[in-house]
Subunit: 377 residues, 2 copies
């Protein structure tokens, strides 16, 4: 699926294409952003951060180093080298741009990029175990391969390592950066607690869903965008404003993830068809469709309630999931979520107007925001 | 069981009672230590730290606050107030004395005491789940009552909170204190990784056992004894020397725990008779007995190897465990461990000679060390 939330082709630079409820972004910036090579930008983040990340993971005592290397996709389950899918690497790229936004060279952001990646992966290890998820990025999850104890232990180790990487810099800025990282980590944990509690509920409001997604996805992206700047000596106002960009970028990112979780192409996402529906996930399109009212919304509500009691759910056919997806779309859940992605994207970009930074960096941050909402995986 | 490792009565202050291999402590200090009321000292630590600890735990979002309150024994499984056994509170007392050792008032050590308690309890929550332990301090463990996901999640939250409590002080000293806490946490995690790996091995050397116990018990006690001083502005030499005292105190503490784990009075310890033998724990007395050589040692090795393959182990009688305990004692494992506790106790106290501190504080640290090795639970 090509989401194409921003429009494409010649309309791309027009401020008029997003519909009246979406704040528009000055076209001059959009033009500059169009010249940014996002692939190179992500690649640069990977190139600078990955060696430091690998060196950090190498500090872990056996067998934790091996388990972590498996999780990051550097080795396979048998211990042979592998170049697995390391993810999109949006966070490292943001952390380096964050340093540059504060006038520092990108290298200053590297410990921040690595710390954020370590904490992100700590949460993946623990969440996969808590949620019983057996697959991530086309591979068995750590608890499936190495057992629950290793998933807990290595998650703990990555969390500690993330803080260690920053604190051993020994500077006042590193202390401030670590504090922001811990705040984001606490939000991650709170978000996971909410997510777990929602599983046991029939209904979740759109506001509750957005709050949970803000904690699970927004908070750490926000930290990625402030951490380099803080390490580069930025003041709290600058860091807070950059975090605003990152937080709303995270919400836009998650809204797109929620669309891909239902209508994404399995080839691109690496997930099953109708993945989030199979997992009964109360994601934004579902929650928005249930809140919309009207015949399709009501029919959807009845079906999902029946599904939650059905002993046959595991054996549902493609058609049965397709029928639910069609109802979500008919009730407006798909369009609402796409619009929400555009709305959060616009708030993110607007925040950048309140920070002094080089035009080149601003254009790159805008381009990354665009990338996040038009991606296919 | 009264361990009485230091001797008692009039002999107590004599430097000659510990046997020739044990370094002795100047008797003037021992006399001062004898006048210290350890019960009041532990009580003061509890009184100053507990309200701050409870306020910190109250910051957790529901249901994590409730799960944590259950773990700390403040409420029962139904949510009713309870004044459960909060443990011996040695760490908080040490953190406050640590501040005073650096010439600061005890209150300066409070955030350190709370941070250390939070990290200690994070490790208990995760270790109990990883080890499948169903009881702690006479109560069902968190994963038994609230499920594995909550044990993981609340453990994570306590870990994050420990760092947060320190970093929000916003001082250079707090950054240094947090770094020490993270170093100790990494050691805790490494120790647990070793402990898990030893379960799958037939033999563990005495050195491996001491290394593991140093990480699981020594590192965080060391941090408790330096953290208050660091918050009070102590230099790294002072902090490192205090950590040496704490590390060896931790090893003495653990050696005593290992004795109590086999020969402790169930009424006092809250554990089953022969608790560590029932859990097939490779604790110091066992490892030392197996390393000693001679008929009893060999017979013990044969029995334990057979036990590890026995399908009937769960149904072993008191007499069968008593027979194994007798062999450990006959092979010298009990005496070796008692001597090791005295040796570590002496190294700990000797370290105090290399730090400038008020005599009153030194006497209190010596008294706490004495308490640790003569306790019955």
């Amino acid at each position: 699926m090509k989401l194409d939330l921003l429009g494409s082709g010649p309309q791309r630079n027009s401020t008029g294409t997003r519909g009246e409820t979406v704040p528009t972004v000055p076209s001059a910036e959009k033009t500059a952003a169009d010249t940014v090579d996002v692939t190179s930008l992500l690649e640069q983040g990977r190139t600078l951060a990955t060696p430091v990340l690998r060196a950090a993971v190498d500090r872990l005592a056996p067998p934790m180093d091996t388990v972590a290397a498996y999780h990051f996709g550097w080795i396979d389950a048998e211990g042979n080298p592998s170049d697995g899918d390391g993810g999109k690497a949006v966070r490292p790229a943001l952390a380096l741009l964050s340093a540059e936004a504060a006038g520092a060279p990108p290298e200053v952001g590297v410990p921040g990029a690595v710390a954020v990646e370590l904490v992100h992966n700590f949460s993946l290890l623990h969440d996969d175990l808590m949620d019983g998820d057996e697959q991530r990025r086309h591979r068995d999850t750590v608890w499936k391969v190495h057992g629950p104890a290793q998933a807990i232990l290595v998650g703990d180790a990555l969390f500690a390592l993330g803080n260690e990487i920053l604190l051993e810099l020994g500077t006042v800025e590193a202390g401030r950066a670590t504090r922001r990282l811990i705040t984001a980590t606490r939000a991650l944990i709170d978000g996971q607690a909410q997510d777990i509690s929602y599983e046991h509920r029939d209904r979740v409001t759109v506001e509750e869903c957005l709050e949970m997604e803000g904690k699970k996805t927004g908070a750490l992206l926000a930290c990625a965008v402030s951490i380099g700047a803080v390490l580069g000596g930025a003041d709290d106002h600058t860091a807070d404003t950059l975090e605003k960009y990152g937080y709303h970028l995270g919400l836009a990112f998650q809204a797109v993830d929620d669309l891909l979780g239902i209508w994404g192409d399995p080839e691109a996402t690496g997930k099953q068809t109708w993945s989030d529906l199979r997992q009964r996930k109360k994601s934004l399109p579902v929650v928005a469709a249930l809140a919309a009212g009207g015949p399709a919304s009501e029919r959807l509500g009845e079906l999902l309630t029946a599904d939650s009691k059905s002993s046959d759910f595991e054996n549902f056919s493609e058609d049965e999931f397709a029928a639910r997806a069609a109802l979500i779309e008919e009730a407006g859940g798909r369009e609402w979520t796409a619009k929400e992605a555009r709305r959060q994207h616009a708030i993110a970009i607007e925040a950048l107007d309140h920070v002094q930074m080089p035009d080149r960096i601003r254009a790159q941050l805008v381009a990354l925001a665009d990338f996040v909402v038009v991606r296919e995986r």
